[in-house]
Symmetry: none
Subunit: 231 residues, 2 copies
Amino acid sequence: MNEQIKILVVEDDDDINQLLCNIIRKNGYFPQPAFSGTEAMLYLESKEWDMVLLDLMLPGMSGDEILAKIADQSNIPVIIISAKLDQQTKIDMLRTGADDYITKPFDIEEVSARIESHLRRYQRINLSSKIEEQLKHKDIEVDPDAKIVSVQGKELIFTAREYEILVLLMSSPKKVFTKKNLFESVWNEAFYGDDNTINVHMSNIRSKLAAANPDEEYIETIWGMGYRLKS
Amino acid sequence: MNEQIKILVVEDDDDINQLLCNIIRKNGYFPQPAFSGTEAMLYLESKEWDMVLLDLMLPGMSGDEILAKIADQSNIPVIIISAKLDQQTKIDMLRTGADDYITKPFDIEEVSARIESHLRRYQRINLSSKIEEQLKHKDIEVDPDAKIVSVQGKELIFTAREYEILVLLMSSPKKVFTKKNLFESVWNEAFYGDDNTINVHMSNIRSKLAAANPDEEYIETIWGMGYRLKS
DNA sequence: GATAATTATTAAGAGAACCTTAAGTTTGGA
DNA sequence: TCCAAACTTAAGGTTCTCTTAATAATTATC
């Protein structure tokens, strides 16, 4: 899982950009400076971001154009940081899709607190809408939410251990998992060779899969090495 | 479905309260004035809210206490509207869980735009988790406004914890919730395995449901994994 | 083809996970 | 401050899963 929280800082003034990046770094997140509107767009298109700090007066492409694009195409929170003091701009930006509007010169602690605040709210969205992908291999399907294994649409009853082993195998269909690998991933403790446990689980998993579809072989034994999915 | 967006306006000054309510009404939402901290708490406990506008200087119970409670117990966005100008208060409130901090005297259009902005972001949470529609399962019905659980139309007495657990299960009827899941969602703190608490709550929930309808089984234990609604 | 090493299967006892009841402990309201 | 409701902890019993161990089957090596 990728735990790094990445924040794009779009600000053409070198000093201010650096200052903002430092605030972000100090909070434990990962800043990426961009010094023009066009540069910002490149970053936005090439990566996933958790937040954007955006100046309005930018070379290349103006801040409000960028804001409009972000608001249109994504869900990323945007904090405008601008020297423009007039209310109308502020209101327009907030209505266009900005999450906040901070005027320069800014208070470092306040910027820090506002970043935290918006990130906190945004995190919850991502947690609740996090769409987990389904694992599939041949006619095996796994629904990680429901923790259900099905073969040819038929739902199978797997125990917790069996489920975890199968998911591990399916997470890297080409990899050969040694018993040590399997044991340490699934059991989360050290493996002191010579253990029949995994053999037994493999046998049980195979027989459950075979009961659902006898014509297919799903798990391959690599002699002297371990197991992997048969492709 | 309940489409009304309800905003609680906590402000002891009559004129300002009314002004804020007017802004909200003009935006198409439903304001509820509260003129003291204690009054606000009553509203917060009795209904579901989409947003809270909160003054800090209040009779009865101070704004920061209210904020702390809301942040601790729920997900509702809070905008502080205060005459306190000092940065430290602002920063503290934002760190405690406020989503925004607007100083008086405020610009009507800006307040309006900021309400829209936060609501826009918050709505996405609700849209993605769409709790409202799914709060029925078999003959269990939950009224999230009144926080009432009923089975076959009969109203049951659930405690706060029991209610939250049940709502969580019902929010994703097919999902298997691990104890970790449950604990971290309902208690909002880290889970250090081997805890009987959830077992006991589950047992209590089951017996209350069974008392209302002995012929039906509602909650399924998935051994080694967790719990889910029985479909 | 015989032997040794590894893997597969089976069944039963050990162990882990869970349920329930009841006794503390905490919390919130009068 | 006290009381009652809610929550947590604890203990004993139950159920289901995992591991162990014995045995069979397979693969590699000589």
